[in-house]
Structure formats: C-alpha cells, structure tokens
Amino acid sequence: MAALRTLTAEAPAAPPALWDPVVRLTHWGIALSVLINALVNKGGSLLHVSLGWLVMALLILRLVWGALGPSEARFSAFPPNPVAAVRHLGQLVSGRVREYPSHNPAGALMAYVFWATLAVVTATGLILTGGATPMQVAAEKAAVASGDWSALIKESEGESSDEDTALRHTAEEVHDVAANLLLFLAALHVAGVVVESRAMRRNLVAPMVLGQRRK
C-alpha cells in the first residue's frame, strides 16, 4: 500500500528531485571547462581559448534560462539575499535546517558570485586575446607555424602601445586572480554540498546527475 501512496505525497517546498537538463548541462559543462582550463592547459592555447568561449556560451545559456526556465531554475526562485544566507548558515551550525524550493540562500549567493567571477574571467580573457575567436586563433597559429610571422606583428604595431600593454597587464592579473577565486569557490561549493547533505540527511548530488534511481 505504501508503494501506491508515495507518489502522491510530495513535499511542497523541497528542491527538485532532478534538476532540469539545462541546469545540469551548464553546471557540469562550466565545472569541467574551468577545471581543465585552470589546471591542465596553459593560457593562450587553442584549447584554452575554445573552452573559454564554451564557458561564455554556457554562462549566457544559464542566464537566459534564469529568465525563461522552469520555476526552480529562475532567478526569482533564489534571489541574492546576504542576510538570508547568513541566517541559513546560522541554522546550519545549530543543526536546524529548512527546506527551500530551489537553492538555499547560501547556495544562491554562491551561484551569483560564481557567475560574476566567470563573467570577469571570460571578459579579461577576451581582452587578453584581443577578442579573437578560436577560429582566428587557430588560423593565426597555422600561419605562424607555416612561417608567416606577420600574424604576430599586428599586435605590437598599434600607436597606443603603452596604454595597451598596461591594460593587458591589468587584464592578465585580474584573469589569474579571478581564476584562482573560481577554484576556491568550487572547493567551497563542494564543501557546502557535503555539509548540507549531512545536515539534511539527503543526497544533494543525485539531483544534479541523474536523479534518484527508482525501483
């Protein structure tokens, strides 16, 4: 009898048992791209630039989804609210946790900080490459490889080169710092998921992967 009952009794304010595919796709796409770009390949390489553009597309898609997606993916479901976030962390420490229909306030704040940092990283990355698309980078690399060094000259010929190098230097600094911040945030995010899963006695990872397996 219990088997027949479980389907009807859905807690009203619980996060979804399975996030929608766009949320999952953008989440893991960004996570993977950031990890690869930060830890494995070096800046300026074709792969690095391509992944950067991929992250930009994923970020844009997620932001569009935040305006047009289903209710729990929309910004209105998890407004940035530092006060509520602090209150939630306090509840977490005292062991009394509440359920939220979407991200909890602390997680929501984390998401917004993530997106802002990602925007900074991609924007400074664009400044560093001069806005070159992966196709242009590939073409330039191919030209240089075939012995045509003129592709390299273009960058240094401008008249305001002093100002340009200063800007590039700043962009590089910001790019590095923001990228490290991303890794720090990712670690914090994973720690948060572990703590929250313990406190709620619920697997918070499954909804972001394939959902609960039902028998």
Binding site: R5, T8, E10, D20, P21, W53, A57, V64, G131, T133
Partner: protein, 170 residues
C-alpha cells in the same frame, strides 16, 4: 505501472536532447557574434553588416524561443507526471475505502492489493512468507466478503469504478 517509467525516460531523453541542441545553438551564436564584432573592428564600413545583424537577431531569437519551448515541454512533462500520480493516488484511495467497507483484516488488505496488482498465489505466498494454502484461504475470504465470484470479478469491481459507473457497496 510499466507505462510510467517509460514515459518518464522518453520525456527525459527528449528534454536532454533539446538542451544539448540549445547549447550548440548558443555556442554557435556566441562564435558568430564574436566573429561579427571582429569583422566590424577590422572593417567598420563592411557591407555585410546589415545581413550579419539580421542573422545575429535570428540566432538570438532562436535561443530565446528554444528556451521558452523547452521550458514549456519540461512543465508539460511535470504536469503529466503529477496528473498520473494524482490518478494513482485517487485509485488507491478508492481501493482503500472499499477494503475498509468490506471490513478486511490488515492481512486481507495486503493480499487483496497484491492480487489486484496481478500477482498469483505462489508469488503472494513468497512475498508474504506464508504458505500457499494460507493465501488461498485468505483470497477465498476476500472474495466472499466482497461478494464476487473470483479474482476476475474482484479486479473488475475497481475497473468498473474507473470507467465511471460507480458501484455502490452494499
């Protein structure tokens, strides 16, 4: 019960495919816009600009409409899922109430439900860890309490309810 998970996986596959498509679309748009901006900076007086602006607008609109359509699909799937769950819950409520009005014992309720789900005597006995004779005796009592001739009529009692010709319990 078999139709539920199949429907769900089909729906999941469909929305997953649409999401991947949406991502590819966004990626294409971002690359295209990047290329257009690059072209403009190289040659601001480009005659292509008007054409490229239209393509850009079309691509952006495609993403917006695609997102909207995907959201509608997801919401529709959820609504169907919920309707199915409500229907199941309603049926189980009807069965529960009927069992009560027949004054089934807890054991008879369990056996009756398993019988409704289509399990045969041997399977029910195994599930409940009881002898087959016990289950057979329980089923006989269930049929007599319900005033039906056997399993077929017992199941038909609730199917008839579903078909909308309410059967009043005596």
């Amino acid at each position: 019960m078999t139709a539920g998970p199949d429907l769900r996986t089909a729906g999941r596959r469909q929305t997953a495919a649409l999401s991947v498509f949406l991502l590819v679309q966004t990626l294409g748009t971002v690359f295209f816009v990047g290329d257009v901006i690059g072209d403009l900076r190289k040659d601001p007086a480009s005659m292509h600009f008007a054409f490229e602006a239209i393509v850009t607008a079309a691509l952006v609109l495609g993403i917006l409409f695609g997102s909207f359509a995907l959201r509608r699909t997801i919401e529709l799937l959820r609504a169907q899922d919920q309707a199915l769950a409500v229907a199941r819950g309603a049926l189980s409520d009807v069965i529960e109430r009927q069992f009560q009005s027949w004054a089934f014992t807890p054991a008879e309720r369990d056996v009756g439900l398993l019988a409704l789900k289509g399990l045969d005597v041997a399977e029910i006995a195994e599930l409940r860890g009881a002898a087959q004779g016990t289950v057979r005796a329980q089923l006989t009592r269930i049929y007599s309490k319900a005033g039906v001739s056997g399993r077929a009529q017992f199941a038909a009692f609730f199917v008839e309810d579903l078909l909308g010709q309410g059967v009043t319990a005596s």
